[in-house]
C-alpha cells in the first residue's frame, strides 16, 4: 500500500501546514488580548501536525514527528507551567503573577498581563504535543491486528 495521499495533497499540505502552525502560535500568544489562548492555539498547532501525518502517511511522518518527541515536549510544557507557578513564590505565594508587580505594560497592548504570556506558551506546547502524540498512538493500530470478525453489529 503506498503511503500517504496523491502528490497534489502532499504539496498542498507542505505549503499550508507552516501557515497553520504559525496561526496556532499566534492565537496562543495573544490569548490575553483576544479570544483564544493556550488551549485553542495548541489544538490548531496539533492540527498542522495531524495534517502532515494524514497527507504523508504514518511511516514518513514518523521521521519528523516521533512519539517519544511528543512525550518529551508534553513533559517540558507541563514542567514549564509548574515552574511559572513555583516562581510565583518569589513574589509572595504559589501562582502569584510575579511579572505584573512592576507595572509592566498597559492593558490592551501585547506586553501586559505578566506571566499570562508564559503560561499560554507552555500550555501551547503541552496541548500540541499531547494531541499529536495521542493521534500518533491511535494511528498505530493497523487493520492487520484485527481478528477475522464482522466489523461492528448494527444497533
Amino acid at each position: 500500500m503506498t503511503s500517504g495521499m496523491t502528490p497534489i495533497v502532499k504539496n498542498t499540505a507542505r505549503l499550508v501546514s507552516g501557515f497553520i502552525a504559525i496561526f496556532g502560535i499566534y492565537v496562543a500568544l495573544t490569548g490575553h488580548i483576544s479570544p483564544g489562548g493556550g488551549f485553542a492555539g495548541g489544538v490548531i498547532l496539533a492540527a498542522a501536525a495531524v495534517l502532515i501525518v494524514l497527507a504523508f502517511g504514518r511511516q514518513t511522518a514518523e521521521k519528523m514527528i516521533t512519539e517519544s518527541g511528543c512525550h518529551l515536549y508534553d513533559a517540558a510544557g507541563a514542567a514549564g507551567f509548574l515552574l511559572v507557578a513555583v516562581f510565583g513564590y518569589l513574589a509572595g505565594g504559589f501562582f502569584v503573577n510575579f511579572l505584573a508587580r512592576h507595572g509592566v505594560g498597559t492593558a490592551g497592548r501585547f506586553w501586559s498581563g505578566g506571566t499570562i504570556i508564559l503560561s499560554n506558551l507552555f500550555i501551547l506546547v503541552k496541548v500540541a504535543a499531547g494531541l499529536a502524540g495521542a493521534f500518533l498512538a491511535l494511528a498505530a493500530f493497523r487493520r492487520a491486528h484485527m481478528p477475522d470478525g464482522h466489523p461492528g453489529e448494527e444497533s
Partner: protein, 510 residues
C-alpha cells in the same frame, strides 16, 4: 507554612511529568520508581507537618480574601482536609512501595508511575479545593487517571471493566457539572464559603434542590452507592492490586464520600431532606453490598462488594448526624459522635481494605489464582502474607482490639443515641454478616489443607511484605491509640463538619 500547602498538589503533578521525561532518557530510566516514591514521601511528610499547624485561608495568586476582590481560588486547609490528606498520602505511599515489586510483570512501568502520581496529586487537589469548580476539575483528573490505570494490563477483562467504568463515571461527572452550574446560576459565586453564605440567605427553592439532587447523584456514583454501584464490582477486581487498593481505599472516599460530606454539611447545610437521602443511600449500600459479597467465590470481587457495604456505613453515619443537626433542637454531642464514628471508619477502611487488596495481590502473584476454593493452607507457605491477611480480615470483621471494632461500635452507639433504633439494628445485623463472611474467607484462604498451587508457592518479595506489614501496624495502632487520634486527627475534622455552614468562613479573616 501556609504557602507550601498548594505544593501538595503541585509536587506529584510535576514529578509525574518528570517521570515521563526521565523515562525517555536511557540512563535515568531505572530511577523513575525511586523518584516517584520520594515525591509521595515528601507529600506525606508535608501532610503530617500540617497536622499541628493552624493554617489561615489561602488564596492562590495573592488575590486575597479582601471582600472587594473575592476573585481568588481558595485552598482549604481545615481539620477535615488535613485528615483526608494524611489518609490519602499514607495509602498512596504504601501502594507505591507495593507496586515497586508487583508491577515487574508489566512493561512500561514508568507510565504506571506517572499515572499513579497524577491520581495522587489530583486526590490531594480534591480535598484541598476551596471552590466548586476546582473540586470538579480535580475529581475529573483523578477519575481519568484511574480509568487508565484500571485498563493498565490491557487484557480483555480489564478493558471491558475499564470501559464500563469510564462510561458510568463520565455520566456521574456530567451530573456533578450540572449541579455546579445550577448552583452558580442561583448564587453567582463559585467559592464554597461564599456559596454557603448566599444559600443561607436565599433559602431552599426548586433550583437549589435541583442542584443538590444533581450533585448528590453524581457524587453517589463516584462513591459507589447503591443503586449507582454497577461499575465497582467489575473495575476493582480487574485492576492491578496496588490500584485496587488505591481505588477502594481512598478514591471512592476522597472523591465520593468526602465531597458529599463537604457539600452537604458545609455548603448546603444539613436539612431533613438531605439527611433522608443520605440515610437511604447508606442503608441500601450496607445491606445490598453485604448480601452480594456473601455469594462471591472470587476474592477480589468479594472485597469490592465489601467496599460498597463499608462505604454505606460511613454515609449512614453522616446521614444520621445530618438528621440530628437539622432537628429543631440539635443535639451536637450525638451528632458529633456519629460524625466521629463515620470519620474513624473512613480512616480504618482505608487502612484495612488496602491491606486486604494488597494481600490478595500478593496471593495472586505467588499462588496464581483469585478463587477462594483453590487457595487454602496459606499460613504454612506464606507466613508474613497470611498473618497480615488474617489481621486485615479480623479488623474489617470488627473483632476487638483492632480498629474496625471500635469504629463500628461508635457508629452503633451514635445511631442508638440518635434514637434511630431500626437503623441501629440493621447496622448490627450487617456487622454480624460481615463477620461471618470474613470468617469464611479466612477458613478458605488461610486454613485447611494446601491446594496444589499453594504447595508450590513461595513467600512474596520483600518490598510487598514490607507494605503489608506497615498497613498491619496501622490497623493495630489505630485500634489502640484512639484518644491521640481523636485529639489531633479526627477531632478537628469532626468539628469542621459539626459547624455546618459556618465552618468555611471561620478561618482567620484579616
Amino acid at each position: 507554612m501556609a504557602s507550601i500547602v498548594p505544593l501538595m498538589v503541585g509536587l506529584p503533578l510535576g514529578v509525574a511529568f518528570a517521570v515521563v521525561a526521565m523515562a525517555h532518557a536511557k540512563p535515568l530510566k531505572r530511577l523513575t520508581g525511586l523518584v516517584a516514591v520520594l515525591a509521595v514521601l515528601l507529600n506525606f511528610a508535608i501532610a503530617l507537618a500540617l497536622l499541628g499547624a493552624d493554617v489561615p485561608r489561602i488564596f492562590l495568586g495573592g488575590w486575597g480574601p479582601d471582600p472587594a476582590r473575592t476573585l481568588g481560588i481558595e485552598v482549604l486547609c481545615d481539620g477535615l482536609t488535613k485528615m483526608m490528606a494524611v489518609t490519602i498520602n499514607a495509602v498512596a505511599l504504601v501502594s507505591l512501595l507495593f507496586a515497586g515489586a508487583y508491577m515487574r510483570r508489566f512493561t512500561k512501568v514508568w507510565l504506571f508511575q506517572a499515572l499513579f502520581l497524577l491520581m495522587t496529586g489530583a486526590m490531594n487537589g480534591v480535598v484541598l479545593a476551596g471552590d466548586l469548580f476546582n473540586l470538579f476539575v480535580f475529581l475529573e483528573i483523578a477519575a481519568i487517571a484511574s480509568y487508565a490505570l484500571v485498563a493498565f494490563g490491557c487484557e480483555s477483562e480489564e478493558l471491558e471493566a475499564a470501559f464500563r467504568y469510564l462510561v458510568l463515571g463520565t455520566i456521574g461527572s456530567a451530573f456533578i457539572l450540572l449541579g455546579v452550574t445550577v448552583l452558580y446560576s442561583v448564587t453567582g459565586q463559585l467559592n464554597m464559603a461564599a456559596v454557603a453564605g448566599k444559600l443561607a440567605a436565599i433559602g431552599p427553592g426548586p433550583a437549589v434542590l435541583l442542584a443538590a439532587a444533581a450533585l448528590i447523584g453524581g457524587l453517589a456514583l463516584k462513591a459507589a452507592m447503591v443503586p449507582f454501584h454497577a461499575w465497582l464490582p467489575d473495575a476493582h477486581p480487574s485492576a492491578p492490586a496496588p490500584i485496587s487498593a488505591m481505588l477502594s481505599g481512598v478514591l471512592i472516599k476522597a472523591s465520593g464520600v468526602y465531597a458529599i460530606a463537604r457539600l452537604i454539611f458545609n455548603v448546603f447545610g444539613p436539612t431533613p431532606q438531605y439527611a433522608a437521602i443520605l440515610i437511604v443511600l447508606g442503608a441500601a449500600s450496607m445491606v445490598i453490598g453485604m448480601l452480594m459479597a456473601m455469594g462471591q467465590w472470587d476474592l477480589k470481587r468479594l472485597l469490592a462488594y465489601s467496599s460498597i457495604s463499608q462505604a454505606g456505613y460511613i454515609i449512614l453515619a453522616f446521614g444520621v448526624a445530618a438528621e440530628v443537626l437539622s432537628r429543631a433542637t440539635p443535639d451536637r454531642a450525638v451528632a458529633g459522635l456519629c460524625l466521629f464514628g463515620g470519620l474513624f471508619h473512613l480512616l480504618n477502611h482505608a487502612a484495612f481494605k488496602s491491606l486486604l487488596f494488597l494481600a490478595s495481590g500478593s496471593i495472586e502473584q505467588q499462588v496464581g489464582t483469585r478463587q477462594l476454593k483453590e487457595m487454602g493452607g496459606l499460613t504454612r507457605r506464606m507466613k508474613v502474607t497470611a498473618f497480615c491477611c488474617r489481621i486485615g480480615a479480623l479488623s474489617i470483621a470488627g473483632v476487638p482490639p483492632f480498629n474496625g471494632f471500635f469504629s463500628k461500635l461508635i457508629i452503633l452507639l451514635g445511631l442508638a443515641m440518635a434514637q434511630q433504633y431500626v437503623l441501629c439494628a440493621i447496622a448490627a445485623a450487617v456487622a454480624v454478616g460481615t463477620l461471618l463472611m470474613y470468617v469464611r474467607v479466612q477458613r478458605y484462604v488461610l486454613e485447611g489443607p494446601p491446594g496444589d498451587r499453594v504447595a508450590r508457592a513461595g513467600e512474596a518479595p520483600a518490598l510487598m511484605c514490607l507494605a503489608l506489614v506497615v498497613l498491619t501496624i496501622v490497623c493495630i495502632a489505630a485500634g489502640l491509640a484512639i484518644v491521640p487520634l481523636r485529639e489531633h486527627l479526627l477531632g478537628p475534622a469532626r468539628d469542621v463538619l459539626l459547624n455546618a455552614t459556618n465552618a468555611l468562613s471561620m478561618g482567620a479573616m484579616p
